[in-house]
């Protein structure tokens, strides 16, 4: 192993902290994938262990094995030095392991309290004792400063609060080991800070934490030790003191990664997208977008920064024709657009990289050939008089796979068999290969690893340089900062400010994202 990353004296010193959990030689395969390949890891009492790795490296899988959701093919787990069989989450909970999952594990129609109680019910006779549970929850909320209405229905809560419920849920079960799988993906920088404080409070009480994230800064800020995984293997262990962001990035990907995108100043042209006084109600008839007016010009990237759940999804859906809006006007190239007509928008040169690639972007059971013509199948040369031209469709797929470096066995492989990064490339390839004047990219790199992110950022900048207007919506501050020319901050459905990217600071935008308007 590369000795740069081998244990240092510092790390060795830590060994006097007792090892509370140890996973040894874990193997876990899925059909066609080796997700964990001889992974070993140890967690010590009261430490924050960061687990870092590109997409699909096997981090979540390993944690799911430890939590009992998955059963390993080979390998053993030791708790306090004793072998401990964890066959299901029940065993894990009994062993004092709690986990906040990468995807929310909350029952949307239940109240906060019901979600707390589920699996750890307090009962009086045969009946649920909601009073006792509520009292316990209130105590917990107070002692950690995590305020929450026990009777609120989860689906009506903003994601930030849902994340809070998730953490409370783990604490409600008196954990000794807490696994946090990408908990900060949906938090503002300030909320992230809050979370770090809670983590520190927990470690002081002797709780051990496994912390998974893709954000290198966070790792450096909060971790005691860092373990890096790649392609199912542990490729190194280090500490924040020994490394920096570049070191971590190249360790993850196995090569040098350019974290900053290089770009020339924008050559701005005419306005391509104009939005005036847009108001949108969401599914529950709540106001989710209030009176937004914005414009995007040819040759620039307008970034919309904001914490997830502040109306971005509704906003993008409205401009891309997927959702009705209540009032306002949308114009492309000066022409007024009708409501709810994605096809008309496509015809007017709009490309849309949707937020949820599997829900909106692809028909997973379709081969790549069909996915590449998903928006243009009805046009020549792909069809004539309603009859498809298979040869053209195949030729198109071969060409785009080549051009956008889509790695798949063949053009007729079904999209569902591709990895997330490659799926995203199919969408990007499809959307950016036709004549477009406007690109709407919503969270285009969500959940992708640094290698894929690099590629997509480069492509977006190329489009901008070719005179296309780009609207980038992202909750990743770094992404917004690095490729936008102007930045609009959205909070609770309103645009709080539009700033020039060159002059804006991280802190300023972070505060705006949390709803603090500076003078």
């Amino acid at each position: 192993m590369d000795n740069t990353y081998s244990k240092t004296a510092d790390a060795l010193m830590d060994t006097d902290k007792s090892v509370i959990l140890e996973a040894k030689h874990i193997y876990k395969t899925f059909p066609g994938t080796v997700a964990n390949d001889d992974v070993s890891l140890e967690l010590r009492k009261g430490e924050v262990l960061a687990l870092l790795g590109e997409n699909g490296a096997g981090k979540s899988t390993l944690m799911n094995v430890i939590y009992g959701l998955y059963t390993q093919d080979k390998g053993e787990i030791f708790l306090n030095g004793e072998p401990y069989a964890i066959d299901n989450p029940h065993d894990a909970i009994n062993a004092g392991i709690g986990m906040v999952h990468q995807h929310f594990m909350l029952v949307p129609v239940f109240s906060v309290l019901e979600n707390m109680m589920l699996g750890a019910e307090t009962t009086k006779g045969p009946f649920l004792n909601k009073k006792a549970a509520e009292a316990k929850l209130r105590d917990l909320s107070e002692s950690f400063g995590l305020e929450i209405d026990p009777h609120a229905i989860i689906e009506e809560l903003p994601v930030g609060l849902q994340q809070r419920v998730e953490i409370l849920k783990a604490l409600y079960r008196d954990v000794e080991i807490l696994i946090l799988d990408e908990p900060t993906a949906v938090l503002t920088p300030q909320e992230t800070e809050e979370l770090f404080k809670i983590m520190r409070r927990l470690t002081e009480r002797g709780v051990s934490i496994v912390f998974i994230t893709h954000k290198l800064k966070e790792v450096l800020a909060v971790a005691d030790r860092i373990i890096i995984m790649r392609r199912g293997k542990v490729v190194g262990t280090t500490t924040p003191a020994e490394t920096d962001e570049h070191g971590l990035a190249s360790m993850m990907v196995g090569r040098e990664v350019i974290l900053e995108v290089e770009k020339a100043p924008a050559q701005v042209g005419k306005v391509v997208l104009e939005i005036e006084h847009l108001n949108i109600h969401d599914n529950n008839q709540m106001h989710s977008v209030r009176d937004i007016s914005l414009s995007v010009r040819a040759g620039e990237v307008l970034g919309i920064a904001g914490v997830q759940g502040n109306g971005q999804s509704e906003f993008v859906e409205a401009i891309t024709g997927l959702r009705r809006y209540n009032s306002g006007e949308i114009r492309i190239d000066g022409k007024r657009m009708p409501q709810e007509k994605p096809r008309t928008l496509v015809e007017h040169g709009m490309a849309h990289i949707p937020e949820d690639r599997q829900k909106h972007g692809l028909v997973l059971q379709y081969p790549l050939t069909s996915n590449f013509v998903l928006c243009t199948y009805y046009r020549e040369p792909f069809s004539r008089h309603g009859i498809l031209n298979e040869n053209e469709i195949l030729r198109n797929a071969e060409e785009l796979m080549e051009r956008f470096d889509v790695r798949a066995p063949s053009p007729v492989t079904v999209a569902g068999d591709l990895s997330g990064g490659n799926q995203q490339k199919v969408i990007v390839g499809r959307e950016l290969s036709r004549e477009v004047s406007l690109v709407i990219a919503n969270q285009p790199t969500r959940g992708l690893d640094v290698g894929s992110i690099e590629y997509i950022h480069k492509t977006l900048i190329e489009m901008r340089d070719a005179g296309v207007g780009v609207l980038l919506v992202s909750s990743e501050l770094d992404e917004i900062m690095s490729i936008s020319d102007r930045i609009a901050v959205i909070y609770r459905g309103e645009i709080l400010a539009v700033l020039d990217a060159a002059e804006a600071s991280r802190e300023e935008i972070g505060l705006l994202m949390a709803g603090h308007i500076s003078e």
Partner: protein, 366 residues
Amino acid sequence: MEEQTPSQNNWLKKVWFSVRIPFLAIILALLVGAIILLVSGANPLEAYWQLFKGAFGSWRNIQRVLEKSTPLIFAGLAVALGFKAGLFNIGAQGQLLLGALMAGYVGFAVKGLPAYIHIPLALLAGLLTGAVFAAIPGLLRAYSGAHEVISTIMLNYVAINLSDYFSEGPWKDTTPGNIVSRLPAIQPSAEIPNIGPVPVGFIVAVLTSLLIWFVINRTTFGFEINSVGLNPHASKYAGMRTKLLIVAAMVVSGALAGVGGAVETMGVVGRFQPGFNTGLGFDGITVALLARNNPIAVILSSLFLGAMKGGANTMQFYANVPNQIIDIIQGTMLLFVTAEMVVRWVFKLRKQRDTEITVTSGWGQR
């Protein structure tokens, strides 16, 4: 066999891969049927032999099998097309029934037309009726979120009541001496003829299957239907008018079922009479699943089911076996076809990716 080129071999392999599950399911179902026959003291070999003879023992029997297969093909296509669009059209039964009723009405009430006009006209009447009746659950599904499984089950009962009403009331056969509620016999000009032992309706059904295959696999409409069935969200994103497509798929499905009913009235029964079409729409489900929604395979699975139905009475007559055994075999077959894991487990087959069938899941979701 030995001099086959590798490509031929591959082709054969492919065919085998796509038919092996239904094929083995049929074998298993026949085995289960045999066990029940044995338990109840009958000789399964004799029973199946008589079943076979009853289906194919003479030209007349073959003709009957073809006649029975014809509406099954249409019903099967109707259900299969629905599945393609992500819709479970349990209502094929009701659409077929009303299609049969309307064709029966046009068949007797319109007089003095030459056959080459009257036949298409009556078929069209069945087609339109089925289409309109299927449009209701389609519209409800698209615009109000009512799940088609529940609304079509309910509409089936409505269809029965409607057809009873017309057969007893306004359109009742008033031929002197008739006491049964039914429509008058259709005009000779509306009767679909046979060519030798082959009913013309069967030929139309086969051609329709080919057409549907082409539409599903080679046209933009088929592309859209498939997309909506597989991922309605992505289809909307891609600019397809998903709600309209759901209605359209339902309408085409209903039209097919309606034609099935019309062909039944005009080619087999000769009039509309309540009780003559019982279960055809439900058999369409079995046909579609057995054919894994492939329109060409629908022809084969209809022939198979038609043969079972056609041979049942001979089996009963000569082998002394109650014909409810056919229901049991059919249910078991459906079970094995859809529960692939059982078949795989029994025959130790490996899983293949493309064999999954899509059908809708729960209701109430939008």
